[in-house]
Every structure is written in structure tokens, then in C-alpha cells.
């Protein structure tokens, strides 16, 4: 803001500076300092060691697995999120409130519980365990389990982002498209999608960030087999527990890079969405 508030409604200067100071100190201590620490630790042994930790086969395998899990979880939740938001925003049906509540479930339960659910379902002692074992299908302590846990934890992001936007827009434009002769798919691609694209992209970015960074749920179902079922966050933990601080922080800096990219994308999307004529203002989910 360029315009200063008139003095009658503004707090006195000392109050203002104290408030700003507290906020700033908090941000520095809890956000900036740790980030700086991660980077400095990662580079403590020099650039060569930094690259060495990243190029190491187990780290590479962890990176691949993280990318794979995200590559499956994000599109899956994209499809689900659009379907769920569409049905909640545009139709009236029984159980709508229940569906809304269920979508929030992954936010409500601890990620560790989310992981345990899958262990209880698909683990050896679980409901489907014996059947899966008999058919030689491995889900827990294998890649499918990690993907499932990731999908579960990132389930609400896109749907939650879209629902308020679609509810606000109502069904008028879709109805207008129908009276003009557009089919369902044409209406979706030419009318609905352009109206929700920024909210959708925003949801995808958040969903992706969470999918790559998820620790708790994945940790429960992973089994921590190096080079096989380790994702990046799990790999960081293992390295750290082995007192391999430089390697741990080097891999951690990869995740940090992802966080920064996410923030930049998020800011860019918000800027674009605001600038676009008539685009709705988005709300953050959490």
C-alpha cells in the first residue's frame, strides 16, 4: 500500500513497530534461520560432497520414487478433485454434507493414522493381507503402499480449492452453454475449465508440494528399504540418524528447493488470477 492510513485510525508508531518487529522476529527464527541452516550444513563439506550426496544411488532412487508417487497422486487427485467439486458445487443430492466432511478427513487425522489404515487393510495381518499374500501382491512395504498413502494424504487439496470457486460461480454459465447447443464435454472444456483454471493450478501446486514432502503416512507403509521404498523425506531421516549430516542436509535442500519453487509458482498464480478480468479471488485451504 502506498497510502498511509490517516493517523486517527492508525496505531501509534511504537505499537506498529513492536508488532512488525515481533512478526519479523518470529519469521526469522522459525522460517529463515532453519532454511539458512539447511543450506549451510549441506554445503559444509564443500560443493563436491553436496553433489556426491545427491548423486548417490540410494538418493537417486529416493528421488525417483518421490517423483513417481507425486506423478500418480497428483493426476489421481486432480480427476477426483474436479469430480467431487463439480458434484458438490453443481448438484443437489443426499449425503452432500457427508461427502464434504469425508473430503476433509485426511486433514483431520494424523498422517501416521492414515498410514496405519493401509497397514491394517493391506498388511499381512490386515483384512486383505492373506488374500494379497496368496496372490503375491505386495502393497505394504512396497511402492503401491507409498502411492496409496500419498494419494490419501493429498486427497483434499484440489477438491477443497475448487469447491468454493465453483459454488460461487453457480450453474448459470453451464446452463447458458447448454441452451446454445454445447455438449457436456464442450461445456466443461470451454466454459467450466477456463473459469476454474487458476484455482485448479493452485490446488495442483499445493497437492504436489504435499505429495513430495509427505513423511508420516509414507513412513508407516514404506518399510524403509533403501533404494527400494525410500522417498526423499525418509531418506533424509535415515541419513540424519546415521549422523551423516552433510548428506542429510544436501538431500533436504532438494526438498527446500521444491518448497521455494512451490512458493514462487503460488505467488505467480495468485498474481495471474487477480489480474485476469473477472476471475474470482481464491482462498487458501489451510
Amino acid at each position: 500500500m502506498k497510502h498511509r492510513l490517516p493517523s486517527t485510525v492508525s496505531e501509534p508508531a511504537p505499537v506498529r513497530w513492536t508488532l512488525i518487529g515481533i512478526a519479523l522476529a518470529f519469521v526469522i527464527i522459525t522460517l529463515v534461520l532453519p532454511l539458512a541452516l539447511v543450506l549451510s550444513q549441506a554445503l559444509a563439506g564443500g560443493v563436491r560432497e553436496f553433489w556426491g550426496a545427491l548423486a548417490e544411488p540410494d538418493a537417486q532412487a529416493a528421488l525417483r520414487l518421490t517423483l513417481t508417487a507425486a506423478a500418480i497422486a497428483v493426476p489421481a487427485n486432480l480427476v477426483f478433485g474436479v469430480c467431487a467439486a463439480w458434484s458438490i458445487a453443481k448438484f443437489e443430492f443426499k449425503g452432500k454434507q457427508l461427502l464434504l466432511t469425508l473430503i476433509d478427513l485426511p486433514f483431520a487425522v494424523s498422517p501416521v493414522i492414515s498410514g496405519l489404515i493401509y497397514v491394517l487393510l493391506f498388511g499381512l495381518q490386515g483384512w486383505f493381507g492373506p488374500w494379497l499374500a496368496a496372490h503375491d501382491i505386495k502393497i505394504i512395504f512396497a511402492v503401491p503402499g507409498i502411492v496409496l498413502a500419498t494419494v490419501f494424504v493429498t486427497f483434499p487439496f484440489i477438491a477443497r480449492e475448487l469447491i468454493p470457486v465453483m459454488q460461487e460461480q453457480g450453474t448459470d454459465e453451464e446452463e447458458a452453454a447448454a441452451t446454445l447447443g454445447a455438449g457436456g464435454w464442450q461445456t466443461f472444456v470451454r466454459v467450466t475449465l477456463p473459469n476454474i483454471k487458476w484455482a485448479l493450478l493452485y490446488g495442483v501446486v499445493l497437492c504436489n508440494a504435499r505429495a513430495m514432502g509427505e513423511f508420516g503416512a509414507v513412513s508407516v507403509v514404506s518399510g524403509h528399504i533403501r533404494g527400494m521404498t525410500n522417498t526423499l523425506p525418509l531418506h533424509v531421516e535415515i541419513l540424519y540418524n546415521e549422523y551423516n549430516a552433510v548428506a542429510a542436509f544436501s538431500v533436504a535442500s532438494l526438498l527446500m528447493l521444491l518448497a521455494i519453487v512451490t512458493l514462487v509458482l503460488k505467488t505467480w498464480i495468485e498474481g495471474r488470477a487477480h489480474r485476469q478480468v473477472g476471475a474470482p479471488v481464491m482462498e487458501t485451504v489451510r
Binding site: 441452451t179 446454445l180 477456463p194
Partner: protein, 268 residues
């Protein structure tokens, strides 16, 4: 294209929106569905368009039962109260939408679409605004874009849901005269919904007065004004006078929410 509404009923949860409504609209007619809010007039319009489904009864266009025909195949032009323009498209793309979504073999060429859109924008007096976005237009301009968009597909029926409801009094009066003229030029069978007695009497050939999901009276503006069929019609129209009749000779009582425009209007 004549429209026959045959014994149509519709329930929503907890209330009866329409009960056994029958109405016949001749080709080229301009009919107003007039009534207080909640009387079922918009529901009836949406059922004619296929945007809602009736529980029982039939809708016939030129004798063909439309009940199982999807909105997109009914060839109705629908104008929404809040315009429902595609907000991410320019005025041009809005008007062209109905043509560009046609299957490839039925789609006109780019030149033809261009010519058609220009012709329509001239018709609604918005020639210079083709590249604007809806948010850059005034309410009256938006509603005219909505009308041009509806007309682009050569609809056999034009349905208007409170087309001037969201506009201020002056623009509303201008637009309704203009709509009447437009109808006289195009002769598209049209139904429009309104709760404004003046609007219905000034624009329509036939006024259908509705209340609580039923039709109270069908008649010309003169008939419904001078010979109200029920106490409801008498009360609902009692406060207004015929716009084109000898307004000066009739006693003008204050309308429910009188606008200065209504009082200030000179007798023609």
C-alpha cells in the same frame, strides 16, 4: 414455432411450484408470465427451455413433444436474469459461442461466423465493443450481449427470465421498448418472465398472470387490466394502468415500490 404447455406440474422439496399449468402460445407471440416471486413463472420458463424437468405434463413445440429432448437440442434462446455471460470470453466469443460449438460439419466458416456476430452486434447496438470482456460492460450492455448470443443460433423460441430485473429503472424502460421493437422485426415466439406489471403490460401481446403455481388469467393487456378474472388479478394489477391506453383517464395509485420513473412517465 408455437408452444403448447400441456398440464405441467412440478414439485420441489416441500412445495408445489406448478400445478396443472396449461398454456398455448401461437407462432410469433410475445407472452409475459407475470406474477409475484415464488409463483412458479421462472420454473415454467426453465421447463420450457429444458433446464428443469416437469414431474408430469408435456411441452410441445409445433406439436412435437419436447419432454425427452435435451436443452441443447431444443433450439431455444435463453436470456438469464444475471446475463450468465462467459466471463473469460470477449463479447465476440460470447456471441459466437453457439456457432463455434456446433459439430464440424454444421459449423459455419470463420468468415460466416464473423459476419453473423457483426450483424448481431449491430442489431443490439454494440458494434464497437466486440473485443471487450463482460466485466467491462454496463448491465444494459451485458444484457444486450446475452440477447445477441441467444439470437446467434437462430432460436425457434426466445425465453427471457426477468431480463431487465437487474437493471436500473431508466435502462429498464429503454430496453423494454427496444425489446418490443426487436420482436416486431424478428417475430420469434417469445416468453418473458417478469414481476413488474408495467413491463408486462407494455411489452407483451398476451399477459399470463400467475399465482402460487397456477395461472390466474390469460389475456391481452387490456383484458387483464379491465376485466380481471380473479380477485388476485384485480389486486395485483389494480395499481397499474395501461401504458398504451388512455393512461390519463385512469386513476393511478402508487405502485408497490414506486420509482420516480413510473410517476414521471407522461401519458402517450
Amino acid at each position: 414455432m408455437s408452444i403448447l404447455i400441456d398440464n405441467v406440474s412440478k414439485h420441489f422439496v416441500g412445495f408445489r411450484a406448478l400445478s396443472h399449468v396449461s398454456l398455448e402460445i401461437p407462432t410469433g407471440g410475445l407472452v409475459a408470465l407475470l406474477g409475484p416471486s415464488g409463483c412458479g413463472k421462472t420454473t415454467l420458463l426453465r421447463i420450457v427451455a429444458g433446464l428443469d424437468r416437469q414431474d408430469s405434463g408435456r411441452i410441445l413445440f409445433d406439436g412435437d413433444d419436447m419432454s425427452r429432448i435435451h436443452t441443447r437440442d431444443r433450439r431455444v434462446g435463453f436470456v438469464f436474469q444475471h446475463y450468465a455471460l462467459f466471463r473469460h470470453m470477449t463479447v465476440f466469443d460470447n456471441v459466437a459461442f453457439g456457432l463455434t460449438v456446433r459439430p464440424r460439419r454444421l459449423r459455419p466458416g470463420a468468415d460466416e461466423i464473423n459476419a453473423k456476430v457483426c450483424e448481431l452486434l449491430t442489431l443490439v447496438q454494440l458494434e464497437g465493443l466486440a473485443q471487450r470482456y463482460p466485466s467491462q460492460l454496463s448491465g444494459g450492455q451485458r444484457q444486450r450481449v446475452a440477447l445477441a448470443r441467444a439470437l446467434a443460433v437462430n432460436p425457434k423460441v426466445l425465453l427471457l427470465d426477468e431480463p431487465f430485473g437487474a437493471l436500473d429503472a431508466r435502462v429498464r424502460k429503454e430496453l423494454r421498448r427496444w425489446l418490443r421493437q426487436l420482436h416486431d422485426e424478428l417475430h420469434v415466439t417469445s416468453i418473458f418472465v417478469t414481476h413488474d406489471q408495467d413491463e408486462a403490460l407494455e411489452v407483451a401481446d398476451t399477459v399470463v398472470v400467475m399465482n402460487a403455481g397456477r395461472i390466474e388469467q390469460i389475456g391481452s393487456p387490456v383484458e387483464v387490466c379491465e376485466a380481471p378474472a380473479t380477485p388476485f388479478v384485480r389486486e395485483f394489477l389494480g395499481e397499474v394502468s395501461l401504458p398504451r391506453a388512455e393512461a390519463a383517464t385512469l386513476v393511478r395509485l402508487p405502485a408497490k415500490t414506486p420509482s420516480p420513473e413510473v410517476f414521471g412517465r407522461a401519458a402517450p
